[in-house]
Amino acid sequence: MPAPPSGPAPDEPTGPDGPDGPDEPDHYPLAAPQPVDPRTADLATPPAGTKTCVACRAGRVDRDGYCENCGHAQPRERDHMEQELDAVAAVSDRGLRHHRNEDAFAVSATALPDGSPAVIAIVCDGVSSATRPDDASLAAAHTANETLLASLPRGAHPQQAMHDAIVAAAEAVNLLAGEPRTAQQQAPHQNAPACTLVGAVVTPTLLVVGWVGDSRVYWIPADRGAPPARLTEDDSWAAQMVAAGLMSEAEAYADDRAHAITGWLGADAYELEPHTASFKPDRPGVVVVCTDGLWNYAETAGEMARAVPLDAARRPLHTAQVLVGHALDGGGHDNVTVAVLPFPAPPQGAGSA
């Protein structure tokens, strides 16, 4: 297993509020911009004719989800998703260049046997060259999350629990390969569904991460004087070249093959190698869990830290929105998914999911 970069350095302690002043009540984060709301309630029951096309604003939307006037596809539920709990928030967006969102996330909170809180975030990126990548990422994120929700309260060590959750997620993705094809009836090449997975579990004392593929976790201390860090090591061609000492980081990432992943969940993966790591940060901060749709626009820990708002620990949803905005401003070439978890897990988060 590749050694994660050095964790937070033991250094000057800061207050829970970070450097941006005393804690002010701020329970009213801005609502996410929702120009269109194609949520579940709208999708099933009402007949065509109740919705107006978002593209031409003239036609009605038929039951297939296309405009009866200009033919444009309407936003799908997964095009933009947000979720916020007390101590974690996540945002996922289709981006500007892809026609659907193949990323998925799951966030939740539970309690360890001693009653202390444990907050979970899982982020998955469907492999576009495979069949049904969107189904793969959804299945993996949900399965990993459910597995952790079951094992953590029973006292499993969070790092072992994370390992087991990745294995369970891999099995769930493998099962998809056997199912009858649905949406992709005429896919010219049939690859087994596949996706990456990255997850984080935050407790009052512990930060556990786990991953397969090139989705990442960053640690951003609340005190911006302290060094931020990337906590995961990509399963990618570039990372392997660098790790093997064959290329410099700059050379490797400039190569066309840089982003080819060497590990993933799915039936085509020859050998599953879940990576996990456990950290005991000595100061508060936030954990950023994301797909390459974000880190392509904030690759180094320093760049990521600059993109993260100073009040991130108190406003996880706002932070996730800002980070997705950062990726879209940069070009939004891929689907973007970000989960933000403050560390340590605040006590009130326990059991509030």
Binding site: C56, G59, D64, Y66, C67, N69, C70, G71, H72, A73, R94, G95, L96, R97, H98, H99, R100, S128, Q186, P188, H333
Partner: protein, 448 residues
């Protein structure tokens, strides 16, 4: 009146084959639409046992057989005799209960059976009477095919039936009416009945016979040797008896700002449909496909959509099947297919050509190359003919269209099929050239 509630009306399905991915700025969307009709309960029977029908079991149908009785049919006399025998064989293939008539055609059209502006209803007695009447057929007179079609139309429309079909046999050119008269007649008859057309011998005009079949949504072929007529007539009638639903139209809906570049049937034959559109409400149009038994046909649809940004997706066309009703409404046959456009910056996705689209683009070019090659040959343009027919040989070879390749090999000496190198044969049998021209539009399907 068409009875669509019958259990033997086939189930239609629509499948779309396309590469929906377009590059940035891309506008042209190509798709192959496969329409299949199954489950009518009569296929197989259409080929093997049409007589299994008892009255009322099959769909109600009316058939008119038009037999050329012009003077040339007596040269040689076997032609008239074979035509008579072939018509008798076709009559034997009629299932009980089907309305029918026999028309003798010269520069005028005459009712041979049953006469009096009526149709007979097939049973043992009427079949016997009809065959008796055929003995009175004799050759003499000119050729005005339009008059035959108009009489057939009058007779066929006198019965209230679901399927109306004609079978037309000619041995000569349409000399006793103007091409414009024939065209006017075809326009008037289009959509009222379907018609197969056959040329017997080699003294007829290929474009006239294929033009009749094309306008009336039937098949065209050559029967060079009159001895082959009976078999051919029997097969044609069996196919006609297998038809279960008439007047099916391919309905295409396209979004605002979209241009339909073409719509053509590409299997089993190439048939241009673009100009035969009937408007059907906002942004929708109907293309006629005639009558269907248990069968499957492929259509190539090409539309130009307004360009949209990378990551956008739109519906380029919605394909469905309808049957226009007398009251102006339509019966929708349920099946539909979606032709989509998705803009991507993934070059691998946007530059690949769908195998079905590639195949049928080649088949359509093959038919065109044969036409142009034969036209050039007739015009004495040896270089042009060699180039076009060479290209045709190449296309037939790569696409596995063995039948067309064989026909081509009777007109050119193939030096290298893969490279398309050919030499025109010095001497070509007229029948071989006419066969190639008549069957140039026949296609093969993609090897799956």
């Amino acid at each position: 009146m068409a009875n669509f509630s019958k259990s033997n009306v086939p189930q239609f399905s629509v499948d779309v084959y396309q590469n929906e991915y377009l590059p940035e700025g891309g506008r042209e969307v190509n798709a192959i639409v496969t329409v299949s009709a199954t489950g009518g309960g009569t296929i197989g029977s259409a080929v093997t046992a049409p007589h299994l029908y008892s009255p009322g079991q099959g769909p109600s149908a009316a058939v008119a057989i038009m037999v050329d009785c012009s003077g040339s049919m007596d040269y040689p006399p076997t032609k008239m005799r074979n035509a008579r025998d072939a018509t008798a064989a076709a009559i034997d293939t009629l299932r009980d209960g089907v309305h029918f008539a026999v028309v003798g055609g010269t520069h005028v059209a005459k009712e041979v059976y049953p006469g009096g502006g009526r149709l007979a209803v097939a049973d043992a007695t009427t079949r016997g009477q009809a065959k008796q009447a055929l003995r009175r057929l004799s050759a003499g007179g000119g050729t005005a095919i339009g008059t035959w079609l108009r009489l057939a139309d009058r007779l066929l429309s006198s019965a209230d039936v679901a399927i109306r079909h004609g079978i037309l046999l000619t041995d000569g050119r349409n000399e006793h009416e103007s091409p414009q008269d024939l065209k006017t007649t075809l326009d008037a008859c289009a959509g009222r009945f379907t018609c197969d057309a056959r040329g017997v011998g080699t003294d007829w005009e290929v474009k006239e016979v294929t033009g009749i079949a094309s306008a009336l949504l039937g098949t065209a072929d050559i029967v060079a040797d009159p001895a082959g007529l009976a078999t051919d007539f029997t097969q044609m009638m069996e196919t006609a008896m297998g038809k279960e639903v008439a007047d099916v139209a391919l309905r295409l809906w396209t979004p605002v700002g979209t241009t339909i570049k073409f719509v053509k049937q590409v299997a089993p034959t190439v048939e241009e449909l673009t100009g035969r559109r009937t408007e059907a409400g906002p942004r929708a149009g109907d293309y006629p496909t005639g009558s269907w038994g248990d069968e499957s046909r492929d259509y190539h649809v090409c539309v130009e959509v307004p360009s949209a940004g990378i990551g956008q997706e739109m519906l380029a066309a919605r394909v469905s099947l309808v049957i226009p009703q007398p009251d102006g409404t339509v019966q929708n046959l349920g099946a539909q297919g979606l032709v989509r456009a998705v803009w991507t910056d993934d070059m691998t996705a946007s530059t690949s050509i769908n195998p079905q689209v590639a195949h049928y683009t080649g088949q359509a070019e093959l038919a065109q190359a044969i036409q142009q090659g034969l036209d050039a040959r007739k015009a004495g343009d040896i270089d042009g003919a060699t180039a076009k027919l060479g290209r045709a040989v190449q296309l037939a070879s790569v696409s596995g269209n063995a039948d067309t390749a064989k026909l081509l090999a009777k007109v050119v000496d193939v030096v290298d099929a893969a490279a398309g190198t050919v030499r025109l044969k010095a001497k070509v049998a007229e029948a071989d050239e006419m066969t190639l021209e008549t069957r140039s539009t026949k296609t093969v399907r993609v090897k799956k």
